[in-house]
């Protein structure tokens, strides 16, 4: 009798624990489904809200005409797409070689102590908000830059131009690319370096032919992370690009990117439903662009991981 009672008690305790286990599992499933719900509701809501403008004007007209004149009911934002493309590509062209070389220096050439300081310094800098970059560029760089341009090249600008925006983005993605590249270079085994050096290669040859391949996927995902940040950056770009809705004639002309278009038209947005819907279509375009480039990045990364495995 006594034994039976105790076993019943133990059984109760176990079943209570199992019930707890079950409940917690269900809570976890609910939480995880938030991720899916978030993604799906993003797409659904953005499509629904931009439906108004899509049904009125053709998608082709919206995407490929460059007349953003809400007062005349024209909502072509090709200039913004073009500006996004130019600014992002230009900033990546500047950022990639410089930050990879800097990362190689930190990871391979610098003495141990210096490396620790440099990499933790750059890690801290990766957390600086983009608004601060925008502010410093706007108030510290733009006035000097416009004077210099006028003096040296006789170009009249306000200094708020595509070039300034790309420089801002370049400086912004430096810490991201550098710190991730250093991490993936340091994660490689020492043997790899030793073998390559013992075959008689110089240090740079070793880095170029061996380490870049072994750390390739890591470096590429670092670059793509920086690219994603540059593509979606809003505030810093909106502050320095000048916000003009025409196709820029030169690098030193004011332009527009997709996020800065949304921000700068934000004021009127609440009042006119049509413009609101057009801006949401701009956001949808941005979302599709970013998502597609993310997925491509993932696929490329997986392929490279298989190919460059050491």
């Amino acid at each position: 009798m006594k034994v039976k009672g105790r076993s019943k008690k133990v059984g109760n305790r176990l079943s209570f624990r199992l019930v707890k286990d079950n409940i917690s599992r269900k809570i976890m499933i609910v939480c995880t489904s938030i991720i899916f719900l978030l993604f799906i509701s993003f797409v659904v809501l953005l499509v629904l809200k931009s439906n108004l403008v899509i049904s009125k004007y053709s998608i082709k007209e919206l995407l490929f005409s460059s007349f953003w004149e809400p007062e005349n009911h024209k909502y072509g934002f090709f200039s913004a797409t073009f500006g996004t493309f130019i600014v992002t590509v230009f900033s990546m062209i500047m950022a990639i070689p410089i930050s990879i070389l800097a990362a190689v220096y930190i990871a391979e050439y610098s003495p141990n102590k210096l490396r620790r300081y440099l990499s933790s310094f750059i890690d801290v800098l990766a957390g600086i908000p983009s608004v601060v970059f925008g502010l410093c560029m706007l108030l510290g760089f733009v006035p000097i830059f416009s004077v210099l341009l006028k003096k040296w090249f006789q170009i009249e600008t306000t200094g708020m131009c595509l070039f300034t925006a790309s420089i801002t983005l370049t400086v912004m993605v430096f810490p991201i690319i550098v710190s991730l590249t250093v991490e993936s270079l340091r994660a490689l085994p020492v043997e790899l370096r030793e073998i390559s050096l013992s075959l008689g290669s110089t240090k740079w040859q070793m880095i170029k032919k061996t380490l870049f391949k072994a750390a390739g996927p890591g470096i590429i995902s670092a670059i793509l992370l920086g690219f994603g940040r540059a593509l979606g950056e809003t505030m810093a770009v909106a502050m320095v690009i000048g916000s003009k809705n025409n196709i820029p004639t030169s690098l030193f002309a004011s332009g527009q990117t997709l996020p800065s278009l949304i921000i700068s038209s934000f004021g009127e947005m609440m009042s006119v439903p049509e413009e609101q819907s057009a801006l949401i279509f701009v956001a949808l375009t941005l979302f599709v662009l970013v998502t597609v480039s993310n997925i491509i990045a993932k696929v490329v990364n997986n392929k490279l991981k298989k190919r460059w495995r050491y």
């Binding site: 976890m28 991720i35 993604f39 993003f42 809501l45 410089i98 608004v131 430096f174």
Partner: protein, 282 residues
């Protein structure tokens, strides 16, 4: 020939590291020196709320923004930390199959890469369909969406790096999955804290998602449904002002923001050291 190449590359490397450090130091130097000057001139701007014509050169400070930032960032980080822990635990092999975890991780990566302006617009469209103006609650929600993928990914990484033996021993003692999960969470607490502080820093510095959702007010936040503003939004508004005095305030606000970020990253390092006592070995 190859020695020449070596030399050239080394010079290029030194140039590029100087470029990286120089540009970042330029940013830091400008913000800190100018911010320090403008705070020293008038330390009151940190602690006063703005007057009615603040952005037009009127008197006042930006304390409302600091308070608004804190009110938004702290709750959203706590909520998204809890959600992130639950999601990351679900991604373990006990709860879901490998394929499902892969798919969820892909979605988390996509959401991580989504620009914050889209989160802001998303919450704004929800607000519009409820016929409401921006409020504190909407800002919190937008920040939760922003932080959730970031924190989840860090938590997931640190949970997956717990040794298999720990789990096996725990299960062999007859523990259920929740109980093992608690042990794992404790084991990886230093990584979790680092991740949540990174998320916190991102939320503090993000303006694009807040500017749409809280409705840039110039008053102290009064309740969950009243509008308020955040530090980065105020910096954005101040920087675009025509009045030099207001632009100086932007430097002061940026100075405060940078100090907060620096404090966060230093605390994260210290906490990581403190919590690494739960990590066996190493």
């Amino acid at each position: 020939m190859r020695y020449l190449e070596e030399k050239i590359v080394k010079i290029l490397m030194i140039c590029s590291i100087l470029a990286v450090l120089g540009s970042l130091l330029f940013i830091l130097f400008i913000t800190i020196s100018r911010g320090w000057i403008s705070i020293n001139e008038n330390p009151g701007i940190i602690f006063t709320t703005p007057g009615p014509r603040y952005l037009l050169g009127g008197e006042g400070g930006f304390f409302h923004a600091i308070a608004g930032s804190l009110y938004m960032v702290v709750p959203s980080t706590i909520i998204s930390l809890i959600l992130a822990c639950l999601i990351a635990l679900f991604l373990q092999s006990e709860y879901s199959s490998k394929r499902i975890s892969e798919i969820i991780r892909l979605f988390i990566d996509i959401l991580w890469g989504t620009p914050s302006i889209i989160y802001g617009l998303f919450v704004l469209t929800i607000l519009i369909s409820f016929h409401r103006r921006g409020c504190l609650l909407a800002g919190i929600v937008a920040l939760i969406f922003l932080e959730l993928p970031i924190i989840t990914r860090y938590v997931d990484e640190s949970i997956s790096s717990t040794p298999k033996e720990l789990k096996e021993i725990a299960y062999s003692m007859g523990l259920t999955r929740v109980e093992v999960s608690k042990i794992i969470l404790k084991y990886s607490s230093s990584g979790i804290i680092a991740g949540s502080l990174i998320g916190l820093g991102r939320a503090f510095g993000d303006a694009a998602s807040i500017i749409f959702t809280t409705g840039a007010a110039s008053t102290m936040p009064k309740g969950l449904l009243s509008s308020c503003t955040a530090l980065p939004v105020v910096i954005f508004q101040q920087a675009n002002s025509f009045y030099p005095s207001v632009r100086d305030h932007a430097y002061a606000a940026a100075f405060i923001l940078i100090i907060i970020i620096l404090i966060l990253s230093i605390t994260s390092r210290l906490l990581q050291k403190k919590f690494s006592k739960y990590t066996v070995g190493d």
